[in-house]
């Protein structure tokens, strides 16, 4: 077990970044996605000179004045720890990136970073405005990848991110990378999920405890997510989405890029569909991800779906064909309401479909019984 340790210079960089928050926000506002990782490549003096020329000396002096004890005390007060690029705990994947953070502040189990290679982690990103399809896929991917021993990396945002974390934390290990201090649950609505990840997984950030999120900190944390994992999977994203920034950054690093296809009419799936058209790896389930990362058949996931009788198989086929309500399936198959309802709840119990709180049924990733035989 490697103890988390960070040299004071690298830590001071984190505190300096936090104090530069509003200044970088101002100069990166035009196109925050493109510029903030580039800015963060700069050394301290250059960065401050570009972002806050008038108060450059002050900010640098203030950062330099932070004593080692003071930094340690602040970390301890927020129940956080830190590791830096000169330490052993610093993840291998980040060393590939020229713009990688100098130090990572973590809250949770440091063992998750211990020996973490890109090949052992998958980043799942996607739309905050995800549909029930996207959320379900994200949860299933998270669960199956975590169960297969992968560390699932995501950003704790609404929609796909949170679902990937939820699925993963149930089955294995997950890391949330935040755009604010690791001691802050952002978005606040995910406080309970954040707490669970700090207890059973790991939350990291390049910003110090108490740092507030800015618009530029999200593309900045995306570069960490992209670098940590060997593959970035985009579940659902609009054509111009922040998730695609992560995908671009991953591709720049030479990481694998995967995308979950969606209906071509769905705006929420335009992003991954475009990625697929551009040559991204097709992701239909966790097995596709494992095959792409480790080589075909290197790590087969064992799943034995329960058998279905003919009537149930028909209803399942209707759901696969896009019927999301009981009424729709009944009308499509010409069945009575009660029969369809009974069939759907049996399918739900078998794990083939799930039902949302609004009564919308969607197909899970469990392969159809027919497909398993092939």
């Amino acid at each position: 077990m490697v103890e988390p340790r960070a040299c004071p210079d690298c830590l001071r960089r984190s505190w300096l970044l936090a104090s530069l928050g509003p200044y970088i926000e101002r100069i990166a506002t035009g196109s925050p996605g493109a510029r903030s990782p580039e800015l963060l490549r700069l050394a301290n003096e250059d960065l401050v000179a570009v972002a806050a020329p008038k108060v450059a000396a002050q900010l640098l002096a203030r950062a330099a004045a932070l004593s080692e004890q003071h930094l340690a005390a602040e970390l301890a007060a927020a129940q956080c720890w830190a590791c830096c690029r000169h330490g052993d705990l610093y993840p291998e994947g980040l060393r590939d990136a020229t713009d990688a953070p100098w130090a990572l502040i973590g809250r949770g189990d440091p063992a998750l970073l211990d020996g973490l290679e890109p090949v052992g982690a998958v980043t799942i990103v996607g739309a905050r405005r995800a549909t029930s399809y996207g959320r379900e896929i994200a949860r299933e991917l998270g669960r199956e990848l975590a169960a297969a021993g992968m560390v699932v990396v995501s950003g704790l945002a609404f929609g796909v991110d949170a679902c990937a974390h939820r699925g993963a934390i149930d089955a294995g290990r997950t890391i949330a990378v935040l755009g604010c201090g690791p001691d802050t649950a952002y978005p606040a609505a995910h406080r309970s999920l954040w707490r669970r990840i700090t207890e059973e997984g790991l939350v990291i950030s390049e910003l110090p405890p108490g740092a507030t999120p800015w618009r530029w900190t999200f593309p900045a944390r995306n570069r960490v997510m992209a670098a940590l994992a060997g593959m970035t999977v985009v579940v659902e994203a609009a054509a111009r989405s922040g998730s695609l920034i992560t995908a671009d950054l991953a591709a720049d690093l030479g990481r694998d890029l995967g995308a979950v296809p969606g209906p071509i009419t769905s705006r929420a799936s335009a992003g991954p569909n475009n990625l697929l058209a551009g040559g991204a790896c097709l992701v239909r389930d966790a097995q596709d991800v494992l095959d792409a990362m480790l080589g075909p058949g290197a790590k087969p996931i064992e799943r034995r779906p329960p058998d279905l009788d003919e009537a149930l198989a028909e209803v399942l086929a209707a759901v696969e064909a896009g019927e999301s309500s009981c009424d729709g399936a009944a009308a499509a198959l010409g069945l009575s309401g009660p029969d369809t309802a009974a069939a759907l709840s049996r399918l739900e119990l078998c794990g083939y479909v799930t039902c949302s709180a609004l009564g919308i049924y969607s197909r899970t990733l469990l392969p159809s019984p027919g497909a398993a035989a092939i």
Binding site: R128, R129, A130, T131, S132, F158, G159, P187, A189, T265, S266, R267, A268, S324, S325, C326, D327, G328, A330, A331, L335, S336, G337, P338, T340, A341, A342, A343, L344, S345, R346, E348, L349, C355, S356, A357, L358, G359, I360
Partner: protein, 497 residues
């Protein structure tokens, strides 16, 4: 001279007896009403004065004092005009009516002396009977309504000018024919209008059969309101006692004719309604929509748009079957055993996330759907996702008519009454009773599997049992079979997760 008459003031849906004492004596001419009258009662002065003069009586130019006893009770409404006028005639010696103190009367007067109907004539007639009055004099329009009360003479008076003939015995009034309490619904909207949508139909039938509350979620125009308004037509007919309860409430709210013609009440308040409007309130307390929906259906369209405090106020009445309105001076209990039916859109814009045109922000959707998990929604048993009916649904023939469904529902209700006792239905089963449901081993296994797989709460477990019991009752099965349990699991409202 002094004369007294008996009348009533409406308090909630009950009528409270009021004694009208009129004293006419020498002094400066004047007309005073004392005994906590409200504005409408105080204005009786002008109506009575004009009515007397216009009917050819003399308005005494003396000092007139009207006392409404008991003095501590607030009197509201114009229904005391008739009693005040009669007592005044008697006190001024224009009408020798020795039976005046033995009859009760209620009615508003027009300036020409004709009578105008009052609210709550049925409750007033019943209260008069309880108070030992020989007869009740009511406005002609209220005659049929008051005649529903048995055991008391009902005199339907069309104007003040008739009084001398009545007192002299020249006019012998006929007892008005009582309003027919039509027990079975007919002519209302029929379930046949709901075409296709088999799951929604099933949900409606189960809801009606077990008295379960129902939540429909779907885009605008998918037929949620249509389905809800058809629900009363598939509920079993009102028993005679129940019909009288409904009539009493409708009478107190002044909408008797309308309510009885439609069978069970169907109330659909707008979502801007205040808590007091929903459960009743005000001073004196007036019944709210919940009470007006007694023995019928309360439909809350756009559930997420309702004020949170209004929905919270509805929670306790929904459980208890009655509203308790506590005021500093008094405490009133109004009945409100209704079926709750609610409808909501899947997101603020109503299109639902699957629609590419839905532009609701995720936080807005979350906040909107969060309102579906409030304390009131926890009392809802059935969730039906409603989708836009397809072209084949709309082009297809009419659905099964209400009468056929109603028969099955009535059979199922009968089975429940045999098991649970008169007037009770599965939705009211206590957790203890729900767990005593006869369950086949397969059905039990299905429920147990779901319970462990989805980490159901105890309440969700009992809800599934109640629904399965209703479905079994509809099918006429003694024990809950696997198929019925599977159907119940698909119908149950899901907790958010």
């Amino acid at each position: 001279m002094l004369a007294t008459a008996r009348t009533f003031t409406l308090d909630g849906i009950a009528a409270r007896p009021v004694r009208v004492e009129v004293d006419v004596h020498r002094g400066l001419p004047g007309f005073a009403i004392v005994g906590l009258p409200d504005a409408a009662v105080r204005e009786a002065r002008e109506r009575v004065r004009a009515a007397l003069v216009n009917c050819g009586f003399e308005f005494p130019l003396r000092r007139i004092v009207v006392n409404l006893a008991p003095a501590s009770l607030r009197k509201a409404g114009p229904g005391m005009d008739l009693a005040i006028a009669s007592a005044l005639l008697s006190a001024s010696g224009q009408l020798e009516w020795e039976a005046l103190s033995r009859v009760a009367m209620a009615g508003e007067l027009a300036l020409d002396g004709s009578t105008r109907p009052v609210n709550g004539a049925l409750a007033i007639a019943e209260a008069a009977r309880e108070g030992g009055a020989e007869a009740i004099v009511v406005p002609a329009e209220n005659g049929a309504e008051a005649a529903l009360a048995e055991g008391i003479d009902v005199i339907a008076l069309d104007g003040l000018g008739r009084l001398p003939a009545l007192v002299a015995g020249d006019w012998e009034p006929q007892r008005p024919r009582a309003l027919p309490l039509r027990v079975a619904a007919a002519g209302g909207p029929d379930l046949a209008d709901l075409r296709g949508q088999p799951h929604l139909r099933h949900a409606l039938e189960v809801a009606a059969a077990g008295g379960h509350s129902l939540l429909m979620i779907g885009p605008p125009g998918a037929g949620k309101s249509l389905a809800a308004s058809r629900l009363p037509s598939i509920l079993p007919p009102l028993a005679a006692v129940e019909a009288l309860e409904v009539a009493r409430i409708a009478s107190a709210c002044g909408r008797l004719g309308e309510s009885l013609s439609a069978g069970r009440p169907f109330r659909a308040p707008h979502h801007t309604i205040s808590p007091a409007g929903l459960v009743g309130g005000g001073s004196p307390p007036r019944p709210g929509e919940a009470t007006m929906a007694h023995r019928g259906v309360l439909f809350l369209d756009e559930l997420c748009e309702f004020r949170r405090d209004a929905l919270e106020a509805l929670r306790a009445p929904l459980e208890a079957g009655e509203v308790s309105i506590a005021r500093a001076a008094s405490r009133r209990t109004l009945p409100c055993r209704f079926m709750l039916v609610a409808a909501a859109n899947p997101c603020p814009c109503g299109r639902g996330e699957a629609d590419p045109d839905c532009s609701c922000a995720p936080i807005a959707v979350q906040r909107y759907q969060g309102r579906l998990s409030g304390a009131l929604a926890d009392r809802i048993d059935i969730l039906a996702a409603v989708r836009q009916p397809s072209a084949t649904d709309i082009g297809g023939g009419p659905g099964e008519p209400s009468a056929d469904v109603r028969e099955r529902v009535a059979d199922a209700r009968e089975r429940q009454e045999q098991r649970l006792g008169p007037g009770r239905c599965n939705a009211e089963m206590t957790p203890g009773e729900a767990r005593e449901c006869a369950l086949s081993s397969e059905a039990g296994a299905l429920l147990a599997e779901l319970y462990s797989r989805q980490r159901l709460s105890g309440r969700a477990h009992d809800r599934a049992l109640r629904l399965a019991q209703t479905i079994a009752d509809l099918a006429g099965a003694g024990t809950i079979g696997e198929e019925q349990m599977a159907q119940a699991l698909a119908l149950r409202r899901r907790d958010r997760g």
